[in-house]
C-alpha cells in the first residue's frame, strides 16, 4: 500500500513506529538491568526517545482515533516515565549509612519526642508505684496474669527471690524466641503503629506499660528485694524499656504530625514525619533483638546482682554513646 493511500494518523504512526519499538526495548532493559548498568549511549537514547514518545502521545491524543495506538502509547510513555524519573535507587551501603549516620542523627533530631516517650513511661511507673503502696490490690488490676508468672502480693518472699535468681527451664533459642515475642515486642509494634491515631493510643499504652513496671517494682521493694529486682530488670530492661520508649517516640511523631501539621496538609506532614519515625522504629527493633539476646542468654548465665547491673547499664551507656556521638560531621 502506498503512502498516499494511508490516512493521516496512520502515516503519523508509520513514521514513528520504529522509535517506539526501540524505546520499548530500552525500557525493558532499564527495568531488568537497572539504569546504572546501561551504557551512556543507551541511557541518553532512553531519555531522548521518552521525550519524543510524550510528544507523540500528546499529538496522538489530538489527531488519532485508533484505540490500539492510543492505549499502546499511553502504556509505553507511562512505563518509560517510570524508568526515566523513578529509576531503581542505588542500594550500596544503606545499612552502613543507617548505622553510622541516619539512625543516631534521627535520634538527635527528635530528642524532644524521645524524651516525651521516656516521660510517659516514667510517669506510668511512678503512678504504679504509688498505686501499689496505696493498696496492693491494684497489682492485680494492672498486671496481666500471663506476665506476672505467679508473682504478686500473695506470693511469698522466697518465691519472689527464686524467680529472680532461679534457673529457668528453657534457655537458648527457645527462650530467645519466647522473650522476643513476649509482651514487650508486641507493645513496641503497637505503640509505633497506633501513633498515627492522634498519639492517644501510644501515650496510653506507654503509660500502661509504665504502670505495670511501677506496681511490679513496688511489690519487690515492699519485700526488701528492691536491689535484686533492679539487677534482674537492668540486664535486659535498660535496653528493652528504652526500645519501647523509642518506638513510642516514633509513634508520637506520627501522631503529632496529624495533630499539628503546620502549613502543610496532614497527609504531607505525616509523610515527612514518617522519614524520621521509621528510623526510630528500626532502632527500637534493633534494641529489642539485643534485649531478647540478653534476656534469653545473658540473664541465665549471670546470677550476680552487681554484674547484672553493670552489664545492663553498660550496654545502656553504649547505646547513648551511639546516639550522642554517631554520625556527627567532623568540623
Amino acid at each position: 500500500m502506498s503512502d498516499t493511500d494511508l490516512i493521516r494518523s496512520a502515516r503519523f504512526r508509520q513514521e514513528r513506529e520504529d522509535d517506539w519499538r526501540k524505546l520499548s526495548d530500552l525500557v525493558d532493559k532499564a527495568e531488568s538491568q537497572g539504569l546504572h548498568r546501561m551504557s551512556f549511549q543507551e541511557a541518553r537514547d532512553l531519555a531522548d526517545l521518552y521525550r519524543q514518545a510524550t510528544t507523540s502521545l500528546s499529538i496522538a491524543r489530538e489527531i488519532s482515533l485508533d484505540r490500539g495506538l492510543l492505549e499502546y502509547l499511553e502504556a509505553l510513555t507511562s512505563r518509560a516515565y517510570l524508568s526515566v524519573y523513578a529509576p531503581q535507587q542505588r542500594l550500596g551501603g544503606i545499612i552502613r549509612k543507617f548505622l553510622t549516620a541516619g539512625g543516631p542523627q534521627a535520634m538527635r533530631a527528635s530528642w524532644r519526642v524521645v524524651a516525651l516517650g521516656f516521660l510517659c513511661m516514667a510517669a506510668g511507673a511512678i503512678a504504679g508505684y504509688f498505686f501499689y503502696f496505696d493498696n496492693p490490690e491494684w497489682f492485680y488490676v494492672f498486671m496481666p496474669t500471663e506476665l506476672s508468672g505467679g508473682r504478686g502480693p500473695d506470693a511469698s518472699t522466697e518465691y519472689l527471690r527464686a524467680q529472680i535468681y532461679g534457673e529457668d527451664a528453657s534457655t537458648g533459642l527457645g527462650a530467645f524466641a519466647t522473650y522476643l515475642f513476649s509482651h514487650n515486642t508486641r507493645i513496641a509494634i503497637f505503640v509505633f503503629g497506633l501513633g498515627a491515631f492522634l498519639c492517644a493510643p501510644t501515650i496510653f499504652l506507654t503509660f500502661y506499660n509504665g504502670l505495670i513496671l511501677g506496681v511490679f517494682y513496688a511489690l519487690h521493694i515492699d519485700r526488701g528485694l528492691g536491689w535484686d529486682m533492679f539487677g534482674w530488670l537492668s540486664i535486659h530492661g535498660v535496653t528493652e524499656l528504652s526500645a519501647i520508649c523509642i518506638a513510642s517516640a516514633g509513634g508520637l511523631q506520627l501522631g503529632l504530625a496529624v495533630l499539628f501539621p503546620g502549613q502543610r496538609t496532614r497527609r504531607a506532614a505525616l509523610r515527612a514525619a514518617g522519614h524520621t519515625a521509621v528510623k526510630l522504629a528500626l532502632i527500637a527493633a534493633l534494641m529489642l533483638v539485643v534485649a531478647a539476646l540478653l534476656e534469653g542468654f545473658g540473664r541465665q548465665f549471670v546470677q550476680d546482682r552487681s554484674t547484672r547491673i553493670a552489664i545492663g547499664w553498660g550496654i545502656g551507656g553504649l547505646w547513648s554513646i551511639w546516639f550522642v556521638l554517631g554520625g556527627r560531621k567532623r568540623s
Binding site: 490516512i7 516515565y81 524519573y85 527462650a175 497506633l194 509523610r271
Partner: protein, 297 residues
C-alpha cells in the same frame, strides 16, 4: 477500566499520564502469594530447627513465629528495594509500588510501608487467629482493628492503606505496552465481483468516536484464531453490524456475505479518516449523539 481508578500525573514534559490504581483484590492476591512464599521458607527452616533439636515442644510455637517474623519483614522490604517496588507476588500480579510524587522510591518509604503492614495487619491478625473464649475482648478488638484498617483504602482515591499514606506511596497496575496493528492498514481487497466500496460525506455524518472504536474492537477480534462455533457467531455478529450500518447510513448497494469483512474495514477507514479530519478542525464527535448535544464551540 473505569475513570475513577485512574491517577493523573503531570511529568515535567507537560503531557499528563494516567496510571491505573491497583485495587484491593489484586493486592490481596499478591499479598497471599507472598505469604505463601515466606510461609514456605519459614516452615523449611523450622523443620531444620526441629531436626537439629534446637527447640523443645513448649517453645516450638514461639520459635516458629519468630522465624516467620524474621523471614517476613526483611523479605518485603528487601524485595521491594531490589525490584524497585515489587515483590514476587506483585510481579505475578503485574502491580508496582510507586511514589506519590512520581519520583524515585526512597528506602525510608519502602521500609515504613512494610513496617506499618506489621502493625496494621499481621500482629492483630495473629491475635485474631489465636482467638479464644477466655480472651474474647482483645480478640474482638483486634478483629475490629483489622477490619477498620482494611477499610482505609476504600475511603481514599488512590486506595492507599495507612502505611502507604505515611510512606507517600501507592500501588499501580504496571502498564503493558503492546502494539496492535493499525486496522486502517490491514484492509483486504473486496472480491473480484465487487468494486471497491465508496462512502459519501453525508453517510459518514452519523457515527462518532465511540462507535468507531467499538467497530475497531470487532474487526481486531476477527483476526484472532477461533473454533468453528466462535467463527459462526462472529460471522453472525458481522452480518448484524453490516445490516445496522447500511440502514443507518442509507447504503443502497447490497453487500454479499463474503464481502462483509471487507465492507466493514472500508467503512472503518473512511469513517476514521472523516472523524479525524473533523477533529483537526475542532469538531470532536464523542458518539452518535454528537448532533443532538449542544455544540462545544
Amino acid at each position: 477500566m473505569s475513570q475513577a481508578a485512574l491517577d493523573r500525573l503531570l511529568p515535567p514534559e507537560g503531557v499528563p499520564l494516567y496510571f491505573r490504581i491497583g485495587g484491593i483484590g489484586v493486592r490481596l492476591a499478591a499479598q497471599f502469594t507472598d505469604l505463601l512464599i515466606t510461609g514456605a521458607g519459614a516452615v523449611a527452616i523450622f523443620l531444620l530447627v526441629l531436626a537439629l533439636n534446637l527447640a523443645t515442644p513448649t517453645t516450638a510455637i514461639a520459635v516458629a513465629s519468630m522465624l516467620f517474623f524474621f523471614i517476613r519483614i526483611p523479605y518485603y522490604a528487601a524485595s521491594e528495594l531490589l525490584w524497585n517496588g515489587q515483590t514476587v507476588g506483585k510481579r505475578l500480579m503485574k502491580i508496582k509500588v510507586v511514589s506519590a510524587d512520581g519520583q524515585t522510591l526512597t528506602t525510608q518509604s519502602l521500609v515504613v510501608r512494610n513496617l506499618m503492614k506489621e502493625a496494621e495487619i499481621f500482629l492483630p491478625g495473629t491475635l485474631v487467629l489465636t482467638l479464644s473464649t477466655e480472651a474474647l475482648v482483645p480478640s474482638i478488638l483486634s478483629l475490629i482493628w483489622v477490619l477498620g484498617v482494611l477499610a482505609v483504602p476504600l475511603f481514599n482515591r488512590r486506595r492507599q492503606r495507612l502505611g502507604d499514606i505515611i510512606a507517600g506511596t501507592y500501588v499501580i497496575h504496571l502498564p503493558k505496552p503492546f502494539l496492535l496493528p493499525d486496522m486502517s492498514k490491514t484492509m483486504r481487497p473486496p472480491s473480484v465481483a465487487q468494486p471497491s466500496f465508496q462512502f459519501l460525506t453525508h453517510q459518514l455524518e452519523h457515527y462518532g468516536a465511540f462507535e468507531l472504536q467499538t467497530l475497531e474492537g470487532v474487526l481486531r477480534s476477527s483476526n484472532r484464531a477461533k473454533g468453528p462455533d466462535a467463527y459462526k457467531r462472529h460471522k453472525e455478529t458481522l452480518a448484524a453490524i453490516v445490516v445496522q450500518v447500511r440502514r443507518k447510513i442509507d447504503y443502497a448497494e447490497p453487500v454479499r456475505p463474503e464481502d462483509q469483512q471487507a465492507f466493514l474495514e472500508a467503512f472503518y477507514k473512511a469513517q476514521r479518516a472523516f472523524l479525524e479530519q473533523r477533529q483537526l478542525f475542532g469538531d470532536k464527535r464523542q458518539d452518535k449523539h454528537h448532533a443532538a448535544s449542544p455544540d462545544q464551540e
